[in-house]
Chain length 409, copies 2
Amino acid sequence: MDLKPSPLALPFPQNMPEIAGVTLRVARARYKNWDRADLTYAELAEGTNLAGVFTQSACASSEVELGREQAKLGRARALIVNAGNSNAFTGYRGREAVEQIMGQVAAHIGCAPSDVFVSSTGVIGVPLPKDKAYAGVAAALEAEPCNWEEAAAAISTTDTFPKGARASAMLGETRVELAGIIKGSGMIAPDMATMLGYIFTDAAVEPAFLQELLSHSNRETFSCITVDGDTSTSDTVLAFATGKACNTPLASYDDPGADAFAAALTDMCRQLAQLVVRDGEGASKFITIRVSGAVSDESAHRVAMSIANSPLVKTAIAGEDANWGRVVMAVGKAGEPADRDKLSIAFGGVWTARDGLPVEGYDEAPVAAHLKGQEIDIAVELGLGEGRATVWTCDLTHGYISINADYRS
Amino acid sequence: MDLKPSPLALPFPQNMPEIAGVTLRVARARYKNWDRADLTYAELAEGTNLAGVFTQSACASSEVELGREQAKLGRARALIVNAGNSNAFTGYRGREAVEQIMGQVAAHIGCAPSDVFVSSTGVIGVPLPKDKAYAGVAAALEAEPCNWEEAAAAISTTDTFPKGARASAMLGETRVELAGIIKGSGMIAPDMATMLGYIFTDAAVEPAFLQELLSHSNRETFSCITVDGDTSTSDTVLAFATGKACNTPLASYDDPGADAFAAALTDMCRQLAQLVVRDGEGASKFITIRVSGAVSDESAHRVAMSIANSPLVKTAIAGEDANWGRVVMAVGKAGEPADRDKLSIAFGGVWTARDGLPVEGYDEAPVAAHLKGQEIDIAVELGLGEGRATVWTCDLTHGYISINADYRS
């Protein structure tokens, strides 16, 4: 986090809850030349249930391959996150490093290696150095416990600010807490899962239901953001439920409090997802794109993502230009049903095009004022059906080029 | 063409052929405040056959909608191209302007309005002004004939150099000539057709076969380029065959000379397509991406386009960085079969990653020298099958942001 904080940064929440059954520690494995902690260890109480969503990349890292298998077992005792090296595209040597970490942690706390989840983030193609990993894990296992903000900072790479969120829900008489941290800034175009995000709750939730809830929340949140349309090889979101709140374990939507917990989980995921957009590489505007009137929700989502990933739309917003013609272009190329003569487009709630025609003499002043702000709202009404979707993205600026072109790896 | 010519610009060919049966004229309709011709008129001899490919955008312009219908008739007597206003998303008023032009030209030369093809390029959402169009067409109908370079300049908008190409073929004892002009720089991600491109030949070719040849050439050329992944609402490529070479009309691949003509047409299309990439907004490098070993040619094409459209790959090339990790990422997100442990990547013919592992100690000097050049070659071997594809793109630089964000429309 040497970069200046994003202009869209939010302060780290001051009121993050303790989650009974979760202990955080960080250490310096020194994967890169960073003067900060880069290895994070979350110890989880016995009985912790787990759900996960992972990148759909065909070239996923060993961490993701192993994690997909481990997640099917639905339980966890520990999480290790390495920052500075993604260990992706490193073949058997990369896999050996992950298995070494799993064994080292499992021996320390007395659990199965498959209860130890490992994530890595950073440069692609360099095997995670086993010696640094071993020393880093050993230091983390003995370190003093730390707080959420320290852990959020330790999992970061090119992030410009640490990202966390909280939520809570009442399950009957029992209040349960959720705390989450996330990292991500570039290579963000989640395809099911995204980035590295970790959610911890003291609620008791059966693994299969926790997975159902997380997958559902993921579709409405992480799968609705994009920074640059590029999908990482390491994207992972894990949810850990320690059960220490001692509620009757949630096993289905019929259980008392399940709806409240589901809403809190989705709220948590939305907060975390939006924080990643706010730290989008070079971002100066946070853009919300709402598409309605599509033939289905899925179709609306694809149209919204086509707009969100259009370099011409993103540069227009960077230029504070209500260039709805570029929005028309992005709708047209989405490959989804659209009728030019039924299409309407609004910026900041003001319709600039209606039913396939520019709105003559619309009031430009509120539109111009809206575009000068940091929170941009684009609404598209297709006029075909009831399908709707909302996605979030950021603008495309010289900052993105500077971060990604003006250096050598 | 106020902008500095692209560093990748090529000079306009000095030896463009005369095409018997084609007369070019230009005039000033003054759609924008440009001190140059912006309306182009090509008069075509009686008996000229035509084929066309058009954008697949769901929000195409009236010109495209009408053109798709006219092309089914397979004949043409005139082409009008308006530059500075795309007339897209302008509803019935836009359509009226196109029909006015068709009628005006048809009355002048004594043909059916459906024999008059109209294209428009420029800003979206402003109906083409009928009075300027009428005066411009009237002036063009009476103008002195001009040459290919003048016509190529008149159809340009944000292009930084005029673009033309020539080809020829022997049909038995008859030599036929092909001449083509094209415009395009941004909003380039052809989905079947692309941009505005016009190809003229004196060969006699039956309309259905001309369409078959053009569609085939299009798939191998215009559909294999991308500047920014954004697909225009107006993309059109038309091929006009006047028949003045008096060869026996070509009606199928079995006819003598058909293969030679097909090869010349594809060569022409490839030249024109690559010229558009060379004028990609902000481009400083011309990038060729070759994918082999895919499960099919279609799969190879989709993987190649995923690489070509990745902002992280494009910025890495701008930064002269052999960042093959970003290529892995782009392969992984393509949604096509890929096996990380069989994947190999080369820059400028030097393998930097082989079978899922970085090549240790590869010679970095020739790779660094290659990346400093203007012509970049990326090869990806998937190791799965026989499918292959080649696509062309440019890098993503501060120039793209400047052109598209640092102004108000």
